[in-house]
Symmetry: C2
Subunit: 163 residues, 2 copies
DNA sequence: TCGATTTCGGAGTCTTTTATCTTATTTGGC
DNA sequence: GCCAAATAAGATAAAAGACTCCGAAATCGA
């Protein structure tokens, strides 16, 4: 598994939060319900993202979470690093006990470039791009739900580019 | 983690077995000792490789395991597929519940090419290459041991290409 | 044949990850 | 002040992965 379940949930949740970036706080319960993410598990993940200054939280009625940074400034790499650390970008494929640059294992020279390419791709992909793709219904955030179902009254606040 | 511990052990063990491809059987206990792989765990891994026709086994005194195929015909991809299945090459990075080609998730188009490149690299890398690199001491199979320590009397049976 | 050696195969244990439950603490509105 | 709504935090449980144990079966040599 490339990412831990935590990172996967974090990315999905942040897309959902960014979809509703009207400045209001989104309740964690709503994210949990709409995306089918275990509630208490999700709260702990969002607490980490809060400490990393990616989101801010507010307790009490009409509380919840919202982005602290511009979605154009949040890379997927950054989200993964916040939750999983640099495991995905530093771990090798063979994991020899004493590996490192000084003692490369058989696959090092073949694998390192691919790992770097993966990291570059993720650092160049901003949260805003994923949000746009979901908003335009080019891709789906969950298996059965479309973006209109998340915000029934809203329905494409941006100008529809087609049809 | 890219590979399971099982696959990592399998690759390391196969390199070790191929290093000693004199036609004799290598006892699993020896592999376990030299490479610091838990013995009973390794036993089960090798049983799978045996069923996959990659190695053959022999019980009793002077028994053990040996390659059934030419190391030039065994790809790293094949080893991984035997142990882990195609998880590494089919799983997505976001793992949406109902994902697939028909309903791509936001990262699909960005991630799929990298995953394919990884698979291509692993299918093009044959066990024999890793064996050669270890034999030439370009890389190490374990943290502290060199190839001479594995087979003290042997010491470069192939003609030394350098020095 | 007998005993030692080695793989085979099933069941069980330990550890990490994932998920749940329960109890605080904060916030806003009346 | 009081209640309801929401996050914070710690303890607990379930699931998966990694590893161990034990008895059985095969093989070889004396
Ligand atoms: S030497 Fe390279 S490929 Fe080998 S374990 Fe270390 S980082 Fe991974
Ligand atoms: S759509 Fe593609 S990237 Fe998304 S979960 Fe499926 S395979 Fe992975």
């Amino acid at each position: 598994m490339y990412l831990t379940q935590k990172s996967i949930y974090a990315i999905q949740a942040l897309i959902f939060i960014a979809l509703n970036n009207s400045g209001e706080f989104v309740p964690i319960r709503e994210i949990s319900n709409k995306l089918n993410i275990p509630f208490h598990f999700l709260t702990k993940i969002l607490q980490v993202l809060s400490k990393q200054q990616i989101i801010e939280t507010c307790r009490g009625p009409s509380g919840g979470v919202r982005l602290r940074q511009d979605p154009n400034q949040i890379s997927i790499e950054q989200i993964i690093l916040s939750i999983d650390g640099d495991r995905l970008f530093s771990e090798c494929i063979l994991k020899l006990p004493d590996c490192g640059n000084s003692k490369p294992c058989p696959l090092h020279d073949l694998f390192a470039p691919i790992r770097e390419e993966l990291q570059k791709m993720l650092s160049n992909t901003m949260l805003a791009l994923l949000v746009k793709m979901v908003r335009d219904n080019q891709v789906k955030l969950t298996s059965v739900t479309q973006v209109q179902d998340f915000f029934p009254g809203q329905k494409q606040t941006k100008k529809p580019d087609h049809s």
